[in-house]
């Protein structure tokens, strides 16, 4: 996939580039709105990562111009502003997703993949890894084509890993993503173990060829057997 990263902070730009290159994407970068528009007009991208605050203009204006030029690239807004209005404005203008800083690399990778999937699968939204397929909208899980039952949190955890396979995920990241704001004062992540144990058991029972392995001292990783 060809991706254009529009971000004025060179360090963050470099990091995003590095992370997405690892996912076998082709990356172009732009540090300001002018360069970004120039590149976007000349080339076609599958996905554009757009920072809202740019030195020479507002990212939302860039988005408007992109939509006026009928560019088909999926747009993910990356912003430090975590307010509902900003999100709504961005999504109203035709952005596909909205990612708030500071984000996790795995999150970025997952969102890009999701945009790509939506383009590829023509609206049919599913995530597949190994012989496991999940349908987020109906919260269904199919292993070898056979549906299995998961509890709410088990599904959330599996979904989280399915969108970031082969990446080490720290316990705190997992907890934050699945339990949201509720965990912000938890001083240990013991509660993850129980859920993880059950989920692993279900996957093994249903003969999935993927497994969530432990990265000692850090967290977990979803891998194909």
């Amino acid at each position: 996939m060809k991706i254009l990263i529009i971000e004025d902070d060179s360090s963050l730009r470099e990091l995003m580039q590095k992370a997405l290159t690892d996912d076998n994407h082709i990356i172009e970068t732009a540090a300001n709105a002018t360069t970004a528009m120039m590149k976007a007009e000349i080339y076609d991208y599958d996905c554009i990562l757009l920072d809202i605050m740019l030195p020479d203009g507002n990212g939302l204006d860039v988005l408007r111009q992109l939509k006026e030029a009928r560019k088909e690239a999926g747009v993910i807004i990356i912003s430090a502003k975590d307010s509902l209005e900003d999100k709504v404005t961005g999504l109203d203008l035709g952005a596909d997703d909205y990612l708030t800083k500071p984000f996790h690399i795995a999150e970025l990778s997952a969102r890009v993949k999701s945009v790509f999937r939506r383009k590829q699968q023509h609206g049919e939204n599913f995530v597949e890894f190994g012989n496991v397929k999940i349908l987020p909208e109906t919260r269904q899980v199919l292993i070898n084509g056979q549906p299995i039952e998961l509890l709410k949190k088990e599904f959330d955890i599996l979904h989280f890993f399915m969108t970031r396979p082969e990446r080490a995920v720290s316990k705190s990241t997992l907890a934050e993503s699945v339990w949201g704001d509720y965990i912000d004062q938890a001083d240990n992540y013991d509660f993850i173990y129980a859920q993880m144990k059950n989920l692993r058991k279900r996957l093994t029972e249903a003969q999935a060829n993927i497994e969530i392995t432990t990265v000692h001292g850090y967290g977990y990783k979803l891998e194909q057997q």
């Binding site: 800083k101 949190k153 720290s170 949201g180 912000d184 938890a186 240990n188 967290g219």
Partner: protein
Amino acid sequence: MKLSHRIILSISGVLFLLFALWALVFYQSSKHRIYGRIDKVLVEQSEKIIDRFLEIDSLPNSLSGASGTVDYYIEKVCPEYAESHQTPVFQTDEEYIDAIQNVETVRVMTQVFQKQGIDYELTLTTQVFAWNKTLDFAILSILTLALVLLLAIIIIVSFIIVKNMKPIYRLTEWLRHRKTNEDIPLPDDSIKAQEFKEIESAVLEASEKSKQVFEAQKSFIGNASHEIQTPLAICRNRLELLVDETQLTEHQLTEIEKTLDTLGYISRLNKSLLLLSKIDNHQFKGETEIEINQIVNQALENLGEIYESLNIKVTVVEQQRIIVHMDPTLASSLVNNLLKNAFVHNKQDGSISITLNDNTLSIANSGNEEALDAGTVFQTFYKKGENSSSTGLGLAITKAICNEYGFEIRYQFVQNQHVFSVRFQ
């Protein structure tokens, strides 16, 4: 004390003193003139009597009798006394009058004269009763007039003051109701007085300045928080890439995980501060109908999982469905913070009991068996104990939300239970 009252009181005080002084002077001078006239009459009378006494020898040595309103008598005096009383003496005295059977003020004149080498003293007495009555009446009239004048002045002055002070009252009212981030136009009342115009322009200038400072502060907090997000993202992402790309030992991974945890804490702190400043700046406008019970149950489900190891017994008594109109983000923030608080500051095998009735959500939890300081518990960065992952902002946020919507939040320590209750109006 109101300015108008002060002015009226001062004016009344000064005028009262002036009137009193003037009445006193008037009384004294009138009395002086009246006595002058009486004395003149007495002198005329005494001359007549002495002339007659000298001409008609047959008059008795000592004589007293009525002559109009003037009584008189003559008596012999020794030469030494006559020597020392050459000039006529006038004096005012009290005397019992038979006719009216009362003590009355009288004017007495004594004069010494000689007849054939013998010294005599003539004493004339006249009543000043009628004169005094007139004087009293005059003084009473004057005092009445003064009182009426005083009243009239007070009424007129207060009317004028109130009328002229109106712009100031309106200005005060405007200042009181004005919020720093809102533009309420100043009431247009065509201020005419120069001083008031100056006050008005000074107030407007100050208000404009405070608005600018407020705006600057607001955008500073917002910008600072936003600016911190990018470097935070960089730190976090670098560490995550490091984990993905490098073969690290378990110890190194643990260190990285701990660092990531701390970064997460900074990020949450930052978000909480941003939220707090947004609430304080009244930036949440959206209101929808929200059922508090639902938020409570959802939060309990999640928190119950997270704190499962503490084995806390949770009881919920829902006697009422509490429906409020507020921003959904703030509603969950309010409930979640309170519930989280009840779990975080609890103990092993503790308990939490939640009651929803009478438009009030109250959450009682076991924990440290010592009451918290109800005065400071809602302050920012209030921390009790060693919980390093607590931002110390949760209760401050709850309080700010309650203030924003006019809810009443209270902390009590009852039967070894910490009770937080929110009354939704």
